[in-house]
Symmetry: C2
Subunit: 339 residues, 2 copies
DNA sequence: CTGTTAGCGCCTTCAC
DNA sequence: GTGAAGGCGCTAACAG
């Protein structure tokens, strides 16, 4: 069995190329002050031996790595991979490498942030920040580069990229009331997510203004199973709602499945509206009416904001808010009793 | 705006605690030869100042980081997050940190591997290895810790965790032939994936043995859009198949959506079978018959194999093969013309 | 343009 | 038990 040959160092390369180690370093860092001939010679040796520079040594000197932490609450929620993919691509194009951590609980998040700090990551992008996150508050107040995407945190001053939750829910309310729905329920997530909190609040207000009632608000986790249980409970009630809105698409898909299980026709007997417009929402089997957010664009913007922060630590913080847009598909129609 | 305070070092802690830096290091590494009193004193100072050790400096000395690279072809395919979540959790429990890279193309893969090598990751887990991957061949032959999950590579000797693809497809063939299907099509992926190649081959053989024809095999990417186009084409033919099997669930879901678009009833006019049994497959809106693979278990096993390899570099390579199991749901039924 | 010289923060013998 | 000392591989002045 072949043992791994101990890795080459820049000293080896220097020796081989007949130059000093510093020169190798210059070549590798594209320093201008190197003659073309020595540069080529060094590059040739590097190439020939498949030398790969040691990022730890480099980072130790520069007091920072080119790693960027990305924290998510639940990779299995299809909403997140959309963002993750775009973030990874964008960071990679800038020579940064993503370290993804899945942190379902507060404790796991704290632990994950700690590991990222050990790695001396250049910055951290939080995709599903909780309003009471201690680590985020601490990092930001210490001046560490933090970008919040999708969810923000009250009172925390940092770069933020979000969608207009209130605006989105107004569109949903308008749409449903326009279809004569009066008994509307909302399946939401925890109040610790700015998205959920803001959407619940905006939706309630928007419905009231239009003379409709938010008959029930169920709060829980953002995952499929919780939404499924919540919908099951809601739809088995005597006076079940004629429409259910949700705070993200995955939950709306759960509602759709529950409706099918209970043999309730959608949109005939029940209208369902999601949020985010993930690719799944457009599938024929769902055809979910939902609120579109420019996910890829948001992810890119977040990555760019982080990069700018790394280059210009003292730049003023930006708060980017993308407008919401209603995508009407086949999961909504006039309320059944609105004849 | 608060500037980031320059990070504390173990020297600072040592000074503060009135001990040498070496002692701080010993405490942090649970060295036995430290008196309880000094240990507590050091720990108190560490705690008080929120000191976080620098993984780059540590890694530089130890000549290895506690980072583990994980390479995937497409995070947005719901199959992968299932594995990723389990791998992340398992590695994390062992003090290892995942670096996830999304590599759709060969070139991106090579680039990603290079970045991981720069980071001196302890090992790399490939979730969607291509049979012709140069980086994998190179890493393995140099003795670098590599674990392949889900897909293997011919002739590459390393730890591997896979499902029994051939066995799985035999189950599918049996099932469909048992339902009297004679015109069966298969929507597959590239031949460069061991999974796809093996499944195509086994399926063809199994059908033939049972007197049925594999009327068409479509090969392409593993993603939703390609499968969708392929299904559209297949189902618009004069002599369309009565059953379509696929090489993963996402593709089967695409087929289901196409069927709905073409107003073909499933399973009345068309039977559909997937592979993997991701959570989506069980949703009421799909109720997809598919081949179950113990995804979480496979991911854990892969993580464990990597850890063992790190501890015992010369241990013999393991090749773990999990048996396949058919999960019959509502997307399959007797062939329409089998009266 | 290129070599020499200090470290970066930590682990690890080696003495005491 | 604990401290002193020497790197790990690389970057960044500082001389030439």
């Amino acid at each position: 069995m072949t043992r791994r040959s101990s890795q080459l160092t820049s000293v080896d390369i220097a020796h081989e190329a007949g130059v000093s180690q510093a020169t190798v370093s210059r070549v590798l860092n594209n320093d201008r002050y190197v003659s073309a001939s020595t540069r080529n010679r060094v590059l040739a040796v590097v190439e020939a031996h498949g030398y790969v520079r040691n990022a730890m040594a480099q980072g130790l000197v520069k007091r920072q790595s080119r790693l960027v932490g990305v924290l998510v609450a639940d990779v299995t929620n299809p909403f997140y991979p959309e963002l993750i993919e775009a973030i990874d691509a964008r960071l990679g194009a800038a020579g940064l490498q993503m370290i993804l951590s899945n942190a379902r609980s507060r404790q796991v998040e704290a632990e994950a942030v700690r590991v990222l700090e050990e790695q001396r990551v250049a910055g951290i992008i939080f995709i599903s920040a909780q309003l009471d996150s201690q680590p985020i508050a601490r990092l930001v107040s210490s001046g560490f580069p933090v970008v919040l995407v999708n969810r923000y945190v009250d009172g925390v001053e940092c770069d933020v990229v979000i969608g207009d939750s209130a605006g989105g829910m107004v569109l949903v309310a308008e749409h449903l009331v326009g279809l004569s729905h009066r008994r509307v329920a909302l399946v939401a997530g925890t109040e610790l997510a700015s998205t959920s909190r803001d959407r619940v609040q905006a939706f309630r207000a928007a419905l009231r203004e239009r003379g409709a009632d938010l008959t029930a608000v169920v709060r829980g986790e953002f995952d499929y199973d919780h939404a499924y249980q919540a919908a099951l409970e809601l739809l088995r009630r005597e006076d079940r709602p004629t429409a259910i809105a949700t705070v993200n698409d995955l939950m709306a898909l759960a509602v759709l499945n529950v409706a099918q299980r209970l043999a309730l026709s959608v949109p005939g007997e029940l209208s369902v509206v999601g949020y985010d417009d993930i690719p799944l929402a457009g599938w024929e089997r769902f055809s979910l009416t939902t609120v579109r957010q420019p996910l890829t664009e948001m992810a890119r913007r977040a990555s760019d904001l982080l990069q700018r922060r790394l280059q210009t630590p003292d730049a003023p913080f930006e708060r980017v808010v993308y407008p919401a847009e209603l995508v009407e598909r086949a999961s909504t129609a006039a309320a059944p009793d609105s004849g």
